[in-house]
Subunit: 217 residues, 2 copies
DNA sequence: TGCTCAAACTAGCGGCGTAAGTTTTCATCC
DNA sequence: GGATGAAAACTTACGCCGCTAGTTTGAGCA
């Protein structure tokens, strides 16, 4: 088949199909040939639209990051904004857990990731955090969110009671996998609350009162 | 070459060589043939010692986890023990960042990972935390440590100032990569302090005073 | 009308994980 | 001490992988 009247592929169609395949079968199961087949096309045709497979994965990762809501940084105080951002960020990643190991390697050159970093860092600096501190806080929350979405904590435990016989405190561990959703979310919220609580205390100690009122929001 | 008088391979030699290659060239660059070549052997010979490549990676991941120090749970109060464990855990992962995406997928059936989970959970329950809370706390810290080791936050930013022109708050972001070590460690410590501070506050609210003294340590 | 580009194709390279079967050595048991 | 069986290396090969090169033909423009 030569060039068709109507283009069969587009970057957008490739990205959404790739994400669907990754969601369904995992990152390792995505090959250019399988992706192309799902699009009704031969493998190498993808290279008319992307230079490498990694470029496709970057676009997929960025499409996930683009769904994160950072608008809270204009609307709430820094602490509540951080919470809302973290919740939205985690929700975006948890909806597509299989891409997280790839996505979590850093913003690289992905525009949505850069826009997110900009919003978070800007929001913290505007609230009065010193720049170095703002960087650290953004990093710490990204660590936490990425880690929480990287792999389900609960699903990591195999559903095989015999495996835990040698570990006295893990006698119930085989049941974790069955409560994956509530364990993972409960742990996430608990840790996020603790993290923000600790940051708020630090803010009271080191930032509040030292800045003119206009520097806060 | 048939069976040699002295075995050329051993599980241990395979694991340490695999870890060295992963450290040097990344997880994706580890193939059975390259690993075998580094061991002076043909590719399929590895299958006399491991059933699959994943089994090799599991053993590598477990050898890293085995270096984590959980002895603090017998020696310090729960909060200080968590801190020391988290620091040791992160150091172990940060020493071999390329294996972290694989390792972070959960303890699975890896014995060192299970022993670690057992020590942490047991330590928290002994200190009086309710079992469900102990699970959540262990998960939250694992999220944080895994996220912090998954990829350097700082190295995720490309050293190309032009890339950040469109993002007003990121004008200094290209300098992050140069300070990778101090940024990553500073962020880790800041977040860990905040997390533990928040957990301690929660402990005061919900656990302390409600338990007989013998349940604490 | 003719030129150039775009988007599909086919063919194929080198590398991958690993299955199958072969050869030789070592350890064990009558 | 000779037979036996497992162990540990080997060679060969299959089907998949990412990707390159070169080809074909429709689309858009001069």
């Amino acid at each position: 088949m030569p060039r068709p009247r109507q283009a069969l592929l587009s970057r957008e169609r490739i990205v959404t199909t790739a994400l669907a395949l990754i969601d369904a079968d995992g990152l390792a199961a995505l090959s250019t040939r399988r992706l192309a087949a799902a699009l009704g096309v031969q493998g190498p045709s993808l290279y008319n639209h992307f230079a490498t497979k990694d470029e496709i994965l970057d676009a997929v990762a960025d499409s996930v990051t683009a769904t994160v809501d950072v608008s809270a940084f204009g609307r709430y105080d820094w602490c509540e904004a951080l919470r809302r951002w973290a919740v939205s960020y985690r929700a975006a990643l948890a909806a597509h857990p299989n891409i997280v190991p790839y996505l979590a390697q850093g913003p690289g050159r992905r525009p949505a990731a850069l826009a997110m970093a900009d919003a978070v860092y800007g929001g913290l600096v505007r609230a009065g955090w010193p720049p170095a501190r703002a960087t650290h806080i953004g990093a710490a929350l990204r660590y936490y969110v990425a880690g929480s979405a990287l792999g389900s904590f609960a699903r990591g435990f195999v559903e095989d009671p015999a495996l835990y016989a040698a570990h006295p405190h893990l006698s119930q561990a085989h049941r974790l996998a069955g409560h994956q959703r509530s364990v993972d979310e409960g742990a996430f919220v608990l840790g996020l609350d603790a993290l923000l609580h600790g940051l708020a205390a630090e803010y009271e100690r080191t930032v509040a009162g030292l800045e003119p009122a206009t520097a806060r929001e």
